[in-house]
Amino acid sequence: MTSNFRIGDPLIRASKLRKEFGDFTAVNGIDFEVRKGESFGFLGPNGAGKSTTMRIIAATLTRTSGEITILDKDPEVHGPEIRAHLGVVPQQDNLDAALTVEDNLYIYGRYFGLSKKFIRNKIEELLEFAQLEEKRSVKVEALSGGMKRRLTIARALISEPEILMLDEPTTGLDPQARHILWDRLFRLKEQGVTLLITTHFMDEAEQLCDRLMVMDKGSIMAEDSPASLIKNFATKEVLEVRFGSGRNVELADTLRTHCDRIEVLPDRVLMYAESGEDLLHRLVSNGLQPLTSLVRRSSLEDVFLRLTGRTLVD
């Protein structure tokens, strides 16, 4: 069991992975590979199949067809053996509300069969990690949302997992708490922990992930590093213009003649160009003076829009 994996070895391999719930296809025959030490992100809107894929990897949901191995094992045969090496942070915190912060960490450690002595030492480290030292004897039901989130993440680390799986880890956290968490995740990565993250925050994906899989409606739309995705699926810059409600749609055809690709959103129009400033000049000199305009660099948001025709957060 204690066969070691080295950095770069594939830990998760999926091919033609498929999951149906009745008539609904949540995951539609996807292939991917995650290697040890990398930070791998699933990016997509709600219902894209991210969480379903995560639960199959976590060996708590059976697949309909296709193949998948985690740590070279089939989750349907070796559930406990796989879960022993995963740290799972679910989308919704499922802490034991009647127990204290410390007790929550303790019993979770016991679920992994860890010795009481080991757990006691580890709790100190994790309380510091999650900045919950002063809350150790407080019942979980009295914690704020952010504190609960940090506790759930700390809890997932009690067994020093090989793979840490985070489903929307920073949803509901304030900006400072997010940065602290990102920093902690970097450190884990440095120690060789493989990270699996789902998110619909672009900045989070760009900050944390070496590799991203963009999912929509159960399928993979693209898979690459954040930088390459932007390079391949978007122009260098984006010009955002607003003409006031109603007029955006009206002017769409005219605007289209000025650049290769535009996206009309309810409140603004996105125009993709190598130089946003130049494009804006052309519009103004053609009598198309927007109410407001903004030039910015392309982001993953634009990649997603390009790939799926939809914005990520509705």
Partner: protein, 287 residues
């Protein structure tokens, strides 16, 4: 980036990694015990309520009905009592069976609904190496632990009230726990299988537990009921456990056949119930 980027944690341990830390075969063997440990930690937060509810209710029935109603019954029967003993002695083992079943029931239904629905902590357990079988069996064992405590306390009360004498009533601890353990297993499975649990606990109490309590020969011999109502008793775990309890606490006659029926009833319910519970737990976790 944030200022904490290069800060190290004071208490950081040298990371060994799960591949070296965790002994999976051991968890597979002891998983249910870890769940039991967690449940007991949880239950200890409710010590007072649990104690008051499980000791209080039979104690009040024993005094109000056993002594109060009993005084009328004993005088109406000119001191002959009922089933050859005074009313208190007749009633006490039935209440013992009832309290065991009631306690076991609340100790499996609440955690099951909490685990799957209210707090979803069963899903947290299942994201560790623990399986549905561990979680089901561990929760069930915690119910047995609570039942055992209540039953022992209650037997002590029965001695104090002079409802029972001698050593043989001590064996009723075993039959009361057995009856409740079997029924709890079945009800744990039912709770996990239920989809809409809005009114489940209230309904279970009123439509199943209360009628079983009232029509299982608890307050008077089952035989004095019309035959179509005796059926309720024959199906009821309360009646089977009561009969065994009466057999052990006073000279309530049971022949070999009856004994075989009572014990087989519980054996089948225990094995079948546990199998059913494990299956429904596994199914619900994988949904």
């Amino acid at each position: 980036m944030s200022a904490t980027e290069n800060a190290t944690l004071k208490s950081e341990m040298v990371r060994r990694g799960s591949l070296h830390l965790i002994n999976v075969p051991r968890i597979k063997r002891w998983g249910a015990y870890y769940v039991l440990e967690a449940r007991i930690r949880n239950m200890s937060k409710w010590k007072f309520s649990i104690l008051a509810a499980s000791i209080g209710s039979p104690l009040f029935y024993l005094i109000s009905v056993g002594i109060g109603v009993g005084s009328f019954i004993n005088s109406h029967s000119a001191g002959r009592g009922i089933d050859g003993v005074k009313y208190m002695t007749f009633l006490a083992p039935a209440l013992l069976a009832q309290v065991a079943i009631q306690d076991g029931l609340s100790e499996v239904t609440f955690p099951t609904l909490q685990g799957f629905k209210w707090e979803k902590n069963f899903f947290a357990m299942n994201s560790t190496p623990l399986t549905g079988r561990h979680i089901a069996v561990g929760t069930w064992l915690s119910a047995i632990a609570r039942i055992s405590l209540t039953v022992v306390a209650y037997i002590a009360i029965m001695y104090t009230f002079g409802a029972i004498h001698g050593w043989s009533p001590l064996l009723a601890i075993f039959t009361a726990v057995l009856g409740s353990a079997a029924f709890s297993a079945l009800m744990m499975g039912a709770t996990a299988a239920i989809k809409n649990d809005d009114m489940f606990l209230t309904l279970l109490q009123r439509v199943a537990i209360m009628p079983l309590f009232l029509f299982s020969g608890t307050f008077y011999p089952l035989k004095s009921m019309p035959e179509f109502l005796q059926w309720i008793g024959w199906c009821s775990p309360v009646w089977h456990a009561t009969e065994l309890g009466r057999w052990l606490t006073y000279d309530h006659p049971l022949n070999g056949n009856s004994l075989l029926i009572h014990f087989s009833y519980f054996a089948v319910m225990l094995v079948g119930g546990l199998w059913f519970a494990i299956r429904t737990f596994e199914k619900r976790l994988a949904k």
